[in-house]
């Protein structure tokens, strides 16, 4: 199990397009990927769930990954956060 706090650094926060990128990557892995923010827990493979977090720019979210390919999943998800969700 991997649990890590990641920061949203892109300009508009986790809106529809970044959420789609995140869901796409999370969906590639067998592991369970969850995201926590402000008491809300969502499945990172669900687009509506991820958007409902309304994670604004500069906010922190807790990423929780559990499963056989959790390491690979975390590397790719962290990379997406670091690359500002391929925006800008």
């Amino acid at each position: 199990m991997i649990e890590e706090t990641l920061k949203i650094t892109n300009k508009h926060g986790l809106h529809a397009r970044p959420a789609a990128h995140l869901v796409k990557i999370a969906g590639k892995f067998k592991s369970e990927v969850k995201i926590f923010k402000d008491g809300l827990e969502v499945n990172a493979k669900s687009i509506m769930g991820v958007m409902m977090l309304a994670a604004e720019p500069g906010s922190d979210v807790l990423v929780h990954i559990d499963g056989e390919d959790e390491k690979e999943a975390f590397i790719e998800i962290k990379e997406l956060f670091d690359n500002k969700f391929n925006e800008e």
Binding site: A19, M51, M52
Partner: protein, 328 residues
């Protein structure tokens, strides 16, 4: 698309509607019309044939006929000889005018058909252009089904056996209207309108695997069919492919091009437990919303962005008032 129509076809098809009569040259009826445009050869009659578009249908109206009638005999003969030297497919004389005898004489000799009509030039030109544009419109046949769903023409495509007919049938059962199944003839009308219809003999018949041919019109009645419909969305059905990405949000509209016209396309993977009929109705309604200026995905995203800017709001916080009033 027709590459040409014969003068005979033009005459036979429009005899009644355009009040056409053959004045001369039965031998010229096989002449080919290769162009949907009409031409009034005013300048050519007066002697200037530099840019004469002789391959078009030549219309002689009041102006041309009075001009010819006022010409001295010599000049008239010269002018007509020069005009009919060109390979004109057909001459049509409108407004019930009578051509000079010499024109008929030369036309007969050169196998150029002359048709007459009692309709006035302007009206006649509109009516004829309408027919010609239909005949010369770009056209192709398309393997798929076309159904009018809530007034939106949905063209279903996808490999043979994926269930296009079954979906069309299901839609008809739910009160929508079948245009054509299996073979849809698509014609481009004007620059950006695609019209789909069945072939001449299809008669709203449909093949359902395991049953055979179904007569949709007899079975569901006249309200379940229509003759033609504008093609507005293509729904492409395909087998679910795990490695392929399907649209999750719909912010970017995907398009496909048919006969040079771009229309929205939806890629729909088929997998168990999915009601494609209801999804098709949803696609139609979504298309209607977009047509009326409301784009759900864009609207939602802009609200979400706005919401994120008001940082105070926690995602769990809702309007308490709403909950307090709900006593159930």
């Amino acid at each position: 698309m027709n590459e040409y129509i014969t003068v005979r076809a033009l005459l036979e098809t429009n005899k009644r509607r355009l009040k056409l009569k053959l004045l001369c040259s039965v031998n010229g009826l096989n002449k080919k019309i290769v162009n949907a445009e009409l031409h009034r050869p005013g300048l050519a009659l007066s002697g200037f044939t530099g840019t004469f578009t002789y391959e078009r249908i030549q219309i002689l109206g009041n102006t041309e006929i009075s001009f010819l009638k006022e010409m001295p005999n010599d000049a008239l003969r010269k002018s007509i000889d020069k005009l009919l030297d060109f390979a004109i497919p057909v001459i049509i004389i409108t407004s019930g005018n009578k051509p000079p005898a010499y024109l008929v004489e030369v036309a007969t000799r050169r196998y150029i058909p002359i048709l007459t009509t009692s309709i006035h030039t302007t009206e006649f030109s509109h009516l004829l252009a309408d027919y010609l544009q239909r005949e010369f419109a770009p056209r192709e046949s398309f393997h798929g089904s076309l159904v009018d769903v809530y007034g939106v023409g949905i063209l279903f495509s996808g490999r043979s056996g994926i269930g296009k007919s079954e979906i069309a049938m299901d839609l008809v059962e739910r009160g929508h209207r079948l245009v054509a199944d299996d073979l849809v003839v698509i014609t481009r009308k004007s620059q950006d309108v695609l019209i789909g219809s069945g072939t001449a003999h299809s008669e709203h018949m449909m093949e359902i695997r395991g049953i055979g041919l179904i007569d949709v019109k007899r079975m569901f009645g006249i309200r379940g069919v229509r003759m033609q419909k504008r093609v507005e969305v293509e729904v492409h059905l395909e087998d679910w492919d795990e490695s392929k990405e399907y649209e999750r949000i719909g912010l970017d509209d995907k398009n496909t091009t048919i006969l040079g016209v771009s229309i929205p396309q939806v890629l729909l993977p088929i997998n168990p437990g999915k009601n494609i009929t209801v999804i098709s109705e949803t696609i139609a309604m979504n298309q209607l919303l977009k047509t009326y200026g409301y784009h759900p995905a864009k609207e939602f995203n802009s609200n979400l962005k706005k919401h994120m800017q008001e940082k105070n709001a926690s995602p769990l916080a809702r309007d308490l008032d709403q909950l307090e009033k709900d006593f159930e």
